[in-house]
Symmetry: C2
Subunit: 668 residues, 2 copies
């Protein structure tokens, strides 16, 4: 059991291309934008100035055609959804407020028109949405309902006489809340409301409702309150919208999944109301994929800053030594940053695979199973990536000490802005439960279609056994797993097949146990809520270990695709660190379930330490490969004269590290 | 093995008094202040307005005599250090910027004059410091040296001819940096600099240096740059100070631990330079104690907000049910908040014990061992509490979803402001290493006096065996441990003696193992830096489990002091949750070291879930007992009409919980 040695020099171009993957061109194009002065990060703006700056940046994106890239050609786009999502993700390097503002306009608002509307809406609105002539909102969340959107209170009641829908906010809990673009710039909103005709509700549908006229005056019956200052994202103008009998014509209904005839008759291609609702939501999966993309990018930017600073900053001179120790040479410092860096690699590959699946689904015949799998994956990767971003950016801030707390060094903004990602576009805890539910029902139904009771009964009715559905790397993973030693005693911690088999075994064991538990509960006399609630931590664990396995398979596939030897060798070790630090975090579970002995568990901790040491000389190469334009990360803490410049290449960093390692002193 | 039942009604006054402890009067006095309009939290101020507001609040504290409480009577104080530190901690409920601003003026700047100066400084400066006529700075940290303060670059060279010290900033890395009160308000600074006489350096000493005149103009040779916008604490004016041959008279030297005669002869009561430096730093221990106090208070405020919101917010209506489920009835939500709440209780008691030790040391004959123990404890509790605050406030923010992200609901400010606590007043990672060093050397020397090499040799020279030094609860803890069953198989997870013995065993095992490891390294040929660095994670673990044990003993002592039955019963269960969630987090270690079987480890997870369920009905009572004035926590998210008010008493909360528990649905 040993770590294979790393080449002295890494081909950093090849590494960057591996990370960029299939959407390399989109990334290069976006890098070009990000180098422009318009997109330079600025700090300390007040809220109004920040909002104005972000609006102007959005106009630049619109004018240059960048914004509409993912839309159909006939409306001015290029049908390049994958490239568009990838480019969007990178706006995080400029300003997460811009990313969110763009996401509201072209992802959510435009996406609702595109996916929930029909040709009449596309023809009429998409060109103006792409050009930003028509700034819009996505008005779904209400004060009282964020996670449970199906229970929103806003109503759209059809009035047969005037052939209009009447939109009403019945109470304060039914105010549209946290709505981006609402407080200042939006002129129209895609409003989600309970559609009522002839006294019958048909569930949630979306309506295009003008909220301001061209002079920016509020429309009749529309009240908007500014959400005011937020923890971050203050370049986005979030607001609360209240509707008092606002009338819109029947054409305002985005009618792809449900329509109302002039006489008030409701029709829909999907009979089941629940299924219809979740099919509608499912078409908006791109939004969730974009959030994980943005969170991943924010974490990478923070790591690039902290790793570079850690490679320059010195503290504590050992007795007799000439120089102080570079802080990244301390094990504790490596432990803070390098496993997070490895996980960032893993999540970047998983994200790329998901974006590719999104792109590939376009134009193909509808595949319910594949769509459900993608939605589940988007939910899981979004939750795991956004939590990773929050934890990583925090670690990076702390790793930079006081410098990390100054706005000029950009970490504060990254941290404050990305924080809300864990709870918007689906609260992570709720999303992870959706993932678990998908695993239990094997995507047999849309994950939203079964309620809790239904899920418990569904599971109870079957001899459910967890099935590991392979990701894109199916054949490769099977080959690696098959080649792994059968007995743990013979296992090499660095054997990829063994690692994969551990992740698989864990997933299968957790999901099987969960299914058994719910089956017992469902067939017994226990209250279904109690049964579900008591198993909630088990449910979250099942989702997490599933996502971990999917992410690892994406990493393995990416390594397989890499053809250049030095970068491939480096990726192999980064993957080892991702795997082993994951196993280390979870070693209690493996010990509890008799899969690890105490000795094996301790060996994993040692291996993580050893991998940190081996990868440390390449730390800057690893963050350079993210390809974040220098213009986005020019910060004073990396420019202080007298701070020893870090080495830019693996080789010289290794030399620097060797020097430091031969000196001493870790505490004052 | 079972949880003892809780009384239906809790005496909340008795609970509050238990938490207030010995400094109840100081807490009540401070609550009175905090109810005033001057101290009402405000949000969305720009930096300049925020700075001005905080300065005015500080003036109120000065005028009312609140600020000087901890100073000797002859200078206008009341010699009530404990009450002063306790009151200071509670300023976190108003504005952490105020707390830090006050801490700079009366804790650090005033503290340096009091503890490092002599009567001539006291007479001349303390009255003006207490009244805020002389706003000052504590200029220790430099751009290049934060953790390793002994290595600062600023020099104070004695010029025999003019009988002056000449202060010089030799390079940019030696700028004083992040200095509170420097950018705007400070008129004098306690400047730490290398004292040089007759060409010889005598190490770091402090000097009182005027930086602005009464009109606010910078003094000759003093340059100050504003640090600008920060992640938080923007009501504090941090700056960077550069000295160009600034002359101060010989009396400017704070000369308690070192003096210079007119002819330049240096004398000190402490011969060893290292020991002198750490003795000087040791007198400033109150600052570190105050930071853990503030961090603990910030975490409690966040918990009060999140628990109250979680007790009102509903989401997901089970099929057939009348109402949606209160989110705090979900296990996952309880798991986010209740173990953190239990740990907040534990840390509050540990803090109280530390403050009492600080107070009791006053006027007693100097006790080196006790002083070192207090410094070590302050370092450990500061690190653990500030990390706890960062994690807890984050969890609270997420638990409140979008509402938690709005500035009006106060969580963003608490989060952003308290974030820096993990790295200022000693970087936590560095502090935890100091704690471990204290354990290894049994406080035989000031923890700073031995360098790394010295520590390794010291350990190598001895048959070190970890000694569990008892905290204040010595006799009680021994009695409980002695009564615990000897064999794990017979053990009751809820037996306090058994819990204490597990914490003790862990500490002893980790510290012994660390000592053996370093002894091997020290007696072998290995490079001392390598040996130390490779053991760094072991070192941090040793410190953490030591602090955990000290904190638990403080909790046990506090329960013992509580005389009212219902609140005592509740505290017992909160202590169980603190212990068991700690053991759950650390169960991998117990499994690896053969102390837990898989079955035992799983039983701990079950017990944590069960405790969450039992404590949930009392969650609001538990946060009410923090005694945070309502005026400090009036936020819109708790006032939205239509949001079901949470129950204020344990009894009715239990009823509400029972209702919710009999309904169903945990996912959309």
């Amino acid at each position: 059991m040993s770590i294979r040695p790393l080449p002295a020099a890494i081909d950093s171009d090849a590494l960057l291309r591996s990370l960029d993957g299939r959407f390399h061109d989109a990334r290069e194009r976006t890098r070009g934008y990000l180098r422009r002065d318009d997109f330079r990060p600025v700090v300390g703006l007040d809220m109004e100035a920040h909002r104005e700056r972000v609006l102007q940046q959005a106009r630049v994106l619109a004018e240059s055609g960048h914004a509409g890239h993912g839309y159909p050609e006939r409306y001015g786009g290029k049908s390049d959804v994958g490239g568009s999502v990838t480019g969007f993700e990178m706006l995080a390097y400029a300003d997460l407020s811009l990313q969110v503002k763009a996401g509201v306009q072209w992802g959510l608002f435009g996406g609702a028109v595109l996916h929930l509307g029909t040709e009449r809406h596309h023809e009429r609105y998409l060109p103006a949405i792409l050009s930003l002539e028509l700034p819009g909102c996505f008005a779904m969340t209400e004060t009282g309902h964020g996670s449970d959107v199906q229970a929103i209170g806003t109503t759209a009641t059809y009035d047969e006489e005037s052939q209009c829908f009447v939109l009403t906010t019945p109470d304060e809990l039914s105010r549209k809340d946290y709505i981006g673009n609402a407080a200042r710039d939006g002129r129209m909103a895609a409003v989600f409301a309970q559609l009522v005709t002839k006294g019958t509700s048909h569930g949630v549908h979306a309506f295009l409702v003008p909220i301001r006229d061209e002079q920016g005056q509020l429309c009749d019956g529309v009240d908007i309150e500014d959400c005011g200052h937020k923890a971050g994202l203050n370049g986005v103008d979030n607001g609360r919208i209240t509707f008092t009998d606002v009338r819109v014509p029947v054409e305002a209904l985005l009618n792809r999944y449900g329509d109302v005839a002039p006489d008030g008759t409701y029709t829909s291609p999907i009979e089941n109301e629940n299924k219809r609702f979740f099919t509608m939501l499912g078409t908006l999966v791109q939004g969730r994929i974009s959030v994980s993309g943005g969170a991943g990018a924010a974490a990478r930017a923070a790591l690039a800053l902290a790793v570079r600073y850690g490679g320059r900053r010195r503290q504590f001179r050992p007795p007799g030594a000439e120089e102080e120790v570079i802080v990244l040479d301390y094990l504790a410092h490596q432990r803070r940053l390098l496993p997070a860096l490895a996980k960032s690699y893993a999540l970047l590959f998983a994200q790329g695979e998901m974006v590719a699946a999104l792109q590939d689904a376009i134009g193909r015949p509808a595949d319910d199973h594949a769509q459900r799998e993608l939605e589940t994956r988007a939910a899981g990767i979004k939750a795991v990536t956004t939590w990773h971003a929050t934890a990583t950016i925090q670690a990076c801030r702390e790793a930079c000490g006081g410098a990390g707390y100054l706005s000029e060094n950009l970490l504060p903004q990254l941290k404050a802005d990305s924080d809300v990602f864990t709870t918007f576009e689906g609260d992570n805890t709720v999303l992870m439960q959706l993932v678990a539910k998908g695993l239990l029902t094997r995507y047999r139904d849309h994950f939203g279609e079964l309620d809790t009771l239904g899920t418990v009964r569904f599971v109870a009715d079957q001899v459910v056994e967890a099935v590991i559905e392979r990701t894109a790397a199916r054949a490769l993973v099977q080959r690696l797993v098959a080649a792994a030693p059968g007995r743990d005693e013979d296992a090499d911690l660095y054997d990829r097949g063994y690692q994969l088999s551990l992740f698989e075994w864990r997933e299968k064991h957790v999901v099987d146990g969960l299914a058994r538990r719910l089956r017992r509960a469902g067939s017994g006399s226990a209250d279904p809520f109690e049964a579900f609630n008591a198993a909630q931590d088990h449910l979250l664990l099942a989702a997490r270990v599933h996502v971990d396995r999917v992410v690892l398979e994406a990493f393995v596939a990416a390594i397989d695709r890499c053809e250049e030897a030095s970068s491939k060798a480096l990726l192999e070790r980064v993957c080892d660190l991702f795997v082993l630090s994951n196993l280390e975090d979870d070693r209690a579970w493996f010990l509890e379930h008799g899969r690890f002995t105490g000795r094996q568990a301790k060996a994993i901790t040692k291996a993580v330490n050893e991998l940190c040491k081996r990868l440390r000389p390449h730390a800057e190469v690893l963050v350079d490969a993210f390809g974040i334009p220098d213009e986005c990360l020019q910060v004073p803490m990396l420019a202080t004269p007298g701070v020893t410049p870090g080495s830019a290449t693996g080789a010289s960093a290794a030399a620097a590290s060797a020097t430091a390692a031969s000196s001493s002193a870790a505490m004052p």
